[in-house]
Amino acid sequence: MSFVLRSVRRPWRLAAEASALLIAAVVAFPLYWMVLSAFKPAGEIESTRPRPWTLSPSLDSFRRVFGQQEFGRYFLNSLVVAITVVAVSALIAFLAATAVTRFRFRFRTTLLIMFLIAQMVPVEALTIPLFFQMRDFGQLNTLGALILPHIAFSLPFAIWMLRGFVKAVPPALEEAAYIDGASRTRFLWQILFPLVLPGLVATSVFSFISAWNDFLFAKSFIISDTSQSTLPMALLVFYKPDDPDWGGVMAGSTVMTIPVLIFFVLVQRRLVSGLGGAVKD
């Protein structure tokens, strides 16, 4: 980056840096306010003179959230859905990506274009047919109704993105493996899989987020059995448009955001490189 720095005169660079910091503060502010409001005691949130700090942080809101409405259970439900979706779609996508990158076969390009088009299908528009399909499968009001569609919807993008990672493993390695007498299955799972693992992790961010954040399917498919609810639905229990329990909503939001944040920080390096790859090819 030195070339850019050299070409920018000092006052300009300082101005740029100051604005970068300022923008960072603005972008981070909603998150700060969320955590702050979660820790504020009840009287301070419902105050017409909101202050950007609190002198007496309390865990009341968190207690209320976890005490009421089986929040812990919803958290677990969300986790089960997200982890199942991530694991299953990663495995399926790995196999499919291997097929389309390391083999030449008829309809290969057609399939790739189909995967690309499948990515664009508005998931939301399919809520209605999926509702009836899940009813026929007897999956309504179960976590399966959330897991199955999310696996399907995260696959096309996952395959598309993994292609690059699979391609990056040199063919010579494969030849060497066969010369050493490895079977195709052995190569697939013992050599290729570990090498592609970083890519799988990057890919899984997207399936994790779509499953974790899902609001529409949870709202539509989990209609009567609230024990199968997930976090987004549980959160809205505290959010009544006329009289929202802001403390509860913010505490719930904080609890819901933290796992995603952790996941992001863990995989961000792969995320950026993986995005570059997905974008390029």
């Binding site: 070339f3 850019v4 740029a16 970068a20 923008i23 972008v27 981070a28 909603p30 306010w33 017409t48 399926i92 996508a93 196999l95 499919a96 097929a99 030449r104 390009t109 088009i117 499948a118 664009m120 299908v121 508005p122 939301e124 528009a125 399919l126 209605i128 047919p129 999926l130 399909q133 399907a152 919807f153 696959l155 690059g164 990056a168 063919p171 494969e174 066969y178 195709r184 954040n213 609001f215 539509s220 959160l235 959010y239 802001w246 913010m250 939001s253 955001t257 944040l261 992001f264 920080v265 961000q268 390096r269 950026v272 490189s273 993986g274 995005l275 570059g276 974008v279 390029k280 090819d281």
Partner: protein, 358 residues
Amino acid sequence: MSRMTNRSLPGSAPGTAAPGAGAPGPAPSLMAGPRPGTGAEPAKNAPSGGPWGPRTGRGKPGRTSPLARGGWTPWLYLAPALVVIGGLLVYPVYQLGLISFLEYTQAQVSGGEPTTFQGFGNYATLFRDEQFWQVLLATVVFAAACVVSTLAVGCALAVLLTRVRAVPRLALMLAALGAWATPAVTGSTVWLLLFDPDFGPVNRVLGLGDHSWTYDRFSAFALVLLEVVWCSFPFVMVTVYAGIRAVPSEVLEAASLDGASQWRVWRSVLAPMLRPILVVVTIQSVIWDFKVFTQIYVMTNGGGIAGQNLVLNVYAYQKAFASSQYSLGSAIGVVMLLILLAVTLVYLRLLRKQGEEL
């Protein structure tokens, strides 16, 4: 692809350029995107490979692995994916189309009444409905505004990131990652609290008293737009930034030696080189913003007062699940599907024009 190997394999990750010491573990690598190549293989390192060098490896058959002659093996590997996608994506699309041609209301769903074929009846009803056109227009305008703002903010900040040293860059990157990671539901509630007429800090700072942002149609849309831009600009910023980092420094140096201004460098050098990346982020933004659901649903409480803030997605949902007009909801879904399909075809054409290899 070499670019990705370089960066994604842990050993070679250029995380060494981390003056922002004290930052949490892996974060510094955010700033250390792809190093421009030494000139030996700029075309492979570049985001597009198009504009300034021949593309390598255009699918020469000799380069394929021994696995290539696998007979049925690829289909075996593809089977699970095809079954899942076929069953839970293609089949529902077919069903969606089918339902949109039937009469399908509560009577058919639970009453066991036979479904009747309506032909284009549902579409005729829909197209005669004034509210549909209003919602369609609102959706297009809203999505366009979101896309333009997201791209403008994302690109501007990506350029800004290249102008600053490690610490401000890390701060901005982390803040953006935080916004990116925030689930749509929580983002919506937090922004509602920020702009709350009674308890929100924004009205207090701006001295707006108890002005309600969600009461007026336009200010409600504007509020949702702010939230959408906030949570979707990071994708654009990170992607474009990674793209800029991959542009060989000689090119930019030459431009600035020739006395080009910053704006000129962006317009005449960077933008053309980043075109493939810009195409991708634009299309992704169009697709995301066109089907915003959660934000509208939560922030305007299901579509605003008298449905003033409805967009197609929420409209279809309300028609289907709130008033049990499943066939009308499906017809709206089909309209959305067709619009997005058109966008996808444009996208594919653009990709093809750039000579991208699939």
